[in-house]
C-alpha cells in the first residue's frame, strides 16, 4: 500500500525550544492516523511543516508522491489557530483562493454565496454565509474553517484539535464528515487531546513526547491508559474519582448571588455560589451561559438584575471593579482576549496584580514577580524556558495555562473559568482539575463554564441553561446522558452514541 505522507528525520527548533527532534513517520493512503502528545509536544509544528507553512531545520517531508497532483488544494488543514480573514464573510473565507469565476474571469459572488450556504447548511448554519467571520461566535468560526477545508475535497486531511471549542453536536457532525472522507480513501492526520475521539476516528496512532515520536501503533492494539502512558512517559495520575465522590452540600451562605440578570441571550437568571463549592454552567452554543459568564465578570454590562459578592453589589460592566471586588476569571477565547503576545509569561500571569510587586520606589521588582510566577508555573505546570519567554512563543495549551494562572493570581473569592481545559492535554487537564479542587478545598467558590463534559466531572452541581434561562440543575451523582438531555431542554437521546469520555473514567 503506497504512502501518502512520509516524514523523515524532521527536526525544528524555535530559539532554544526543540519543537521536533528527528521525527519520522509514514502514513499510508486512506489511513487515518492520530497524532497525540502533551501540550508543547510538537503536534502543531509538525502539521505546519506538513502543509509547508513552515520549513523543517533538517530532515524532509513528502506529502503525496510526485505524479499525483499535490499542491495546496490536495492537502487540507484545519489549523489549531484560526486562519480566517476576519473582515471577510464566511462565504468568502470558504471560497478563498478558489473562487468560481465568470468567463470574463470575474468572481461570481452569488455562486460563492450559494456554495457556502450549501456547505454551511450541513452544519445548520446556512444563514452565516453573508456574515463577516469577525462577528461570529468561536464555534461558528471553527465550523467555517472546517467547511473551507472540506470544500476543497482534499486527498490529505490534517486536523489540529478540530473539536476544541466545538459542542457535542458539532463534534458528532465533524466525525460524520471524517467518516465519509475516509470512505472516499482520504488520508487523515488527526490531532486531539480527547483520546476517546481518537478511537472513534482513527486506525493508528503516533505519540509525540517533547518533540520525539515515541510510539506508532494500530489503535486496535491500544487502550486509553496505554496512550496516556506513552504521552506522559509514566502512568498518568487519573483525574481522581475522589473528586467526584459526592460531597456534603456546602452549608455556608452564598458568596456570589446573581438575581434576575438580563443581557443579550440571558433573560432573568438567578444563580448562587457558596464558598467551597464548584459549580458547572453549561448549555448549547447560544444558550446564554457564555454571556452570563461575561456579565458576572464585568466584561458585559447587564440590562437588568443585580449581582452581589459578599452582599456588596458588583460593578457590572466594569471589569476592573469586578476583579477588585474579588472575581477571578478566564476570558472565553484565549487568542483574542487571553494574553498579550509580546509580554513575558511572568507578566501575563501577573498582569492583574502588578502593584503587588512594587518596591520602595513604587517600581515593579522583577525578582518578586518572577518568584511569584514560578510558584504559579509550578502549580499550573506551565512549560516555558523561563519567566522571560514571550507568551506568543508558547504552545496553545501552555498559553491557556498562563491565562488560568492569572485568574487565580489575585486569590479571588469567586473563580469563573470559561472552557478551562480547551486545548489542554490529559495530564495538564488532570493537574488543572487538581488545582481547581485544591482552590475549592480552601473555601473558594468556583464556577466552570464549559461545553466539555470532563470539566463538569469535577463539579458538585451543574447548572444547565437553555434559551437564556436555567432549565435544570443537576447534583452529583449525574451522568453525561443526563447533561446531554438537559442541555437540549429535556429531549431524549440515544446515550450509546454520545462521546463516552473514557479518559476520565479510568
Amino acid at each position: 500500500m503506497p504512502e501518502a505522507i512520509v516524514v523523515d528525520q524532521v527536526s525544528k527548533a524555535f530559539g532554544p525550544t526543540l519543537a521536533l527532534s528527528a521525527v519520522s513517520l509514514t502514513v499510508n493512503r486512506g489511513e487515518s492516523r492520530a497524532l497525540i502528545g502533551k501540550n508543547g509536544a510538537g503536534k502543531s509544528t509538525l502539521m505546519s511543516i506538513l502543509t509547508g507553512l513552515s520549513q523543517p531545520d533538517s530532515g524532509s517531508v513528502q506529502v503525496l508522491a510526485e505524479g499525483d497532483a499535490g499542491g495546496a488544494s490536495a492537502v487540507g488543514c484545519v489549523y489549531q489557530r484560526s486562519t480566517l480573514i476576519p473582515a471577510a464573510t464566511a462565504a468568502e473565507n470558504i471560497a478563498l483562493a478558489r473562487f468560481p469565476r465568470s468567463r470574463a474571469g470575474l468572481i461570481r459572488w452569488p455562486e460563492v454565496r450559494r456554495q457556502a450556504t450549501e456547505l454551511l447548511a450541513e452544519w445548520e448554519y446556512a444563514d452565516l454565509a453573508g456574515t463577516p467571520v469577525e462577528q461570529l461566535e468561536p464555534l461558528e468560526r471553527k465550523v467555517v474553517e472546517i467547511c473551507r477545508v472540506l470544500s476543497q475535497g482534499p486527498r490529505v486531511l490534517l486536523l489540529d484539535e478540530p473539536t476544541a471549542g466545538l459542542d457535542r453536536g458539532a463534534s458528532q457532525r465533524l466525525f460524520g464528515h471524517i467518516e465519509r472522507a475516509r470512505a472516499r480513501g482520504v488520508t487523515i492526520i488527526y490531532v486531539s487531546h480527547h483520546l476517546h475521539e481518537v478511537f472513534e476516528v482513527c486506525d493508528s496512532v503516533t505519540v509525540l513526547r517533547d518533540g520525539r515520536a515515541v510510539l506508532t501503533e494500530q489503535l486496535t492494539r491500544m487502550t486509553v491508559p496505554d496512550l496516556v502512558d506513552a504521552m506522559v512517559g509514566e502512568a498518568a495520575a487519573t483525574a481522581g474519582g475522589g473528586l467526584r465522590a459526592a460531597r456534603p452540600e456546602s452549608a455556608r451562605p452564598p458568596v456570589l448571588v446573581a438575581s434576575g440578570v438580563t443581557a443579550p441571550k440571558v433573560n432573568g437568571v438567578d444563580l448562587a455560589l457558596r464558598p467551597g463549592e464548584c459549580v458547572g454552567l453549561t448549555g448549547l452554543d447560544g444558550a446564554g451561559h457564555m454571556q452570563l459568564a461575561e456579565v458576572l465578570t464585568g466584561q458585559r454590562p447587564a440590562e437588568a438584575g443585580t449581582v452581589t459578592l459578599d452582599g456588596r453589589p458588583l460593578p457590572l460592566g466594569d471589569i476592573r471593579g469586578c476583579i477588585e471586588a474579588g472575581i477571578g476569571f478566564t476570558p472565553e477565547d484565549r487568542h483574542t482576549s487571553g494574553y498579550v503576545p509580546a509580554l513575558s509569561v511572568a507578566e501575563n500571569a501577573t498582569l492583574n496584580i502588578m502593584p503587588r510587586f512594587a518596591n520602595g520606589f513604587r517600581l515593579i521588582s522583577g525578582k518578586k514577580r518572577d518568584a511569584f510566577y514560578s510558584r504559579l508555573a509550578g502549580e499550573w505546570n506551565i512549560k516555558a524556558y523561563g519567566a522571560a519567554q514571550p507568551t506568543e512563543e508558547l504552545s496553545g495549551g501552555n498559553q491557556q495555562k498562563v491565562v488560568l494562572a492569572r485568574s487565580v493570581a489575585a486569590d479571588p473569592k469567586v473563580l469563573v473559568l470559561v472552557n478551562p481545559t480547551a486545548g489542554v492535554d490529559v495530564s495538564a487537564k488532570n493537574s488543572i482539575y487538581t488545582t481547581i479542587e485544591a482552590l475549592r478545598a480552601d473555601g473558594q467558590a468556583v464556577l466552570i463554564v464549559t461545553t466539555d463534559d470532563a470539566d463538569l466531572e469535577v463539579c458538585d452541581r451543574v447548572v444547565v441553561m437553555v434559551h437564556g434561562e436555567v432549565s435544570a440543575e443537576l447534583r452529583h451523582p449525574f451522568t453525561e446522558g443526563m447533561i446531554a438531555a438537559a442541555v437540549q431542554g429535556g429531549g431524549t437521546t440515544e446515550p450509546d452514541l454520545l462521546p463516552s469520555g473514557e479518559e476520565d473514567s479510568q
Binding site: I85, E92, A97, F99, G105, T131, E137
Partner: protein, 348 residues
C-alpha cells in the same frame, strides 16, 4: 447524524437568526458609503449657500473633479497597498521623481536637459519607477523590514534625487506628449476627469471581482491565514507595491500636465492628504478593510471642502484652521451616523 435531534439543532440557529439578518441588512449597503454620502450632501448644500458659483458645472468638473484627479490616482495606489496590509510613504516622492527624470531626459540641452526623444525617455523612466517599487517591495516583503521606515527613507532619497537631478530648477519647456494629460479633452471632458472616474471604477472592479484583488484583501486581513490558504504573499506584496509606484508615476505626469512643468518639490507634502482621503474613505490602516468607492468619495469630499474654502471669504489666516475644523466636524458627523450603523466602524 441520527444522534442529533432536529429540535436541538434548530435552537442555536433560531437564537442567532435575528442578529444575522440584521448584519446582512447592514452589509447590503457599505456602511462607509452610508456615512460619507450624508456628509457630502451637507458639504454640497453649504457650498451652494456660500457661493452660487459652487454648483456650476465648470466649478464641479474643472475645479473639483479635475483638480482631484491627481490625488485620486495616488489614493488608489495607496489604498491597494493599505488594503494589502502595508503602506508606502514614498509615493509622494515618485510623483516628483518620475516626471523630473523624464523631463531631464527629454528636455532640450538648452533647457538643461539631455534632449532624448520622448520614447527613449519613457524607456528609461518606466524601468526606473519599476525599480523603486521593486526595491520597496523586496525590503518590505522579503527582508521583512518595517514598511514605514523603508518607504520614508525611500521618500527622502527620491526627493533628494529629484532636487539633485534638476539642480532645483523647474522644467517648463516640455514636449506636448508630457503635458497632454493636463490639457487634453475627450468628449468635452478634461482627460483628468476621465482618468479620475475610470481609474476608480477599474480599481473597484479589480479589488472586488478578481481573485488577485481578493487575495490582496486576504493578505491584509490576516497574512498567516492568506499564506495558509496558499496565496503567494511575498510575490503579491511586491506586485502591489510596484503597481503603487507606477500609479504614483502616472499621478506625477498628470500633475505635470496641470502645471505644464515639473518643479523640484512636486508632490511633497501630498502623502498626508492621500492618507486622509483613504482613511476618511474607510480604508483601514491595519489592512484588509475598505473599498475603492469609499476612497473615491473621500477624495471628492476633500476636493469639495478645499473648493468651498477657496470660494468662501474666510480670511486667509484662518483658512487652515477652518479646514482642520471642518474635517473634525465631518468625523463627528460620521461618528453620529455610525452610532446608528455599528457595522460602520468595522468597515471604517
Amino acid at each position: 447524524m441520527s444522534a442529533v435531534s432536529p429540535r436541538k439543532l434548530s435552537e442555536p440557529v433560531a437564537a442567532a437568526a435575528p442578529s444575522h439578518a440584521a448584519r446582512r441588512a447592514r452589509r447590503s449597503v457599505d456602511p462607509v458609503v452610508l456615512t460619507l454620502l450624508p456628509i457630502i450632501v451637507i458639504a454640497v448644500i453649504v457650498g451652494a449657500v456660500v457661493n452660487p458659483v459652487f454648483l456650476t458645472t465648470t466649478n464641479i468638473i474643472d475645479n473639483i473633479i479635475t483638480t482631484s484627479a491627481v490625488l485620486g490616482v495616488l489614493v488608489i495606489a495607496e489604498s491597494l497597498i493599505l488594503i494589502g496590509g502595508y503602506f508606502d510613504l514614498s509615493l509622494e516622492a515618485t510623483v516628483g521623481f518620475a516626471p523630473m527624470l523624464l523631463a531631464v531626459l527629454v528636455s532640450s540641452a538648452a533647457d538643461a536637459g539631455l534632449g532624448l526623444p520622448f520614447w527613449a525617455g519613457l524607456l528609461i523612466t518606466i524601468p526606473a519607477v519599476l525599480l523603486i517599487g521593486l526595491a520597496n517591495g523586496l525590503m518590505i516583503a522579503k527582508m521583512k523590514l518595517n514598511a514605514f521606515i523603508v518607504t520614508l527613507a525611500m521618500l527622502i532619497l527620491l526627493q533628494g534625487l529629484t532636487i539633485g537631478l534638476s539642480g532645483g530648477q523647474t522644467f517648463a519647456m516640455l514636449p506636448k506628449a508630457m503635458t497632454y494629460l493636463g490639457d487634453g479633452v475627450i468628449l468635452g471632458l478634461p482627460v483628468q476627469a476621465w482618468i479620475f472616474v475610470l481609474a476608480f471604477a477599474a480599481a473597484y472592479v479589480f479589488m472586488k471581482f478578481t481573485p488577485t484583488g481578493r487575495s490582496i484583501y486576504a493578505m491584509g486581513g490576516n497574512l498567516e491565514a492568506a499564506r495558509a490558504a496558499g496565496i503567494r504573499t511575498t510575490r503579491l506584496t511586491i506586485g502591489v507595491v510596484v503597481a503603487g509606484s507606477l500609479l504614483a508615476a502616472l499621478a506625477g505626469l498628470m500633475l505635470t500636465g496641470r502645471i505644464a512643468s515639473v518643479t523640484a518639490n512636486q508632490g511633497s507634502g501630498m502623502i498626508f492628504t492621500v492618507f486622509a482621503a483613504a482613511v476618511i474613505g474607510g480604508i483601514s490602516l491595519n489592512g484588509g478593510r475598505g473599498n475603492l468607492i469609499g476612497a473615491g468619495l473621500g477624495v471628492i469630499l476633500l476636493g469639495i471642502i478645499q473648493n468651498i474654502l477657496t470660494l468662501s471669504n474666510v480670511p486667509s489666516f484662518w483658512i487652515n484652521a477652518a479646514y482642520g475644523a471642518i474635517i473634525l466636524a465631518a468625523l463627528l458627523i460620521g461618528w453620529v451616523s455610525t452610532q446608528r450603523f455599528p457595522g460602520g466602524r468595522a468597515a471604517a
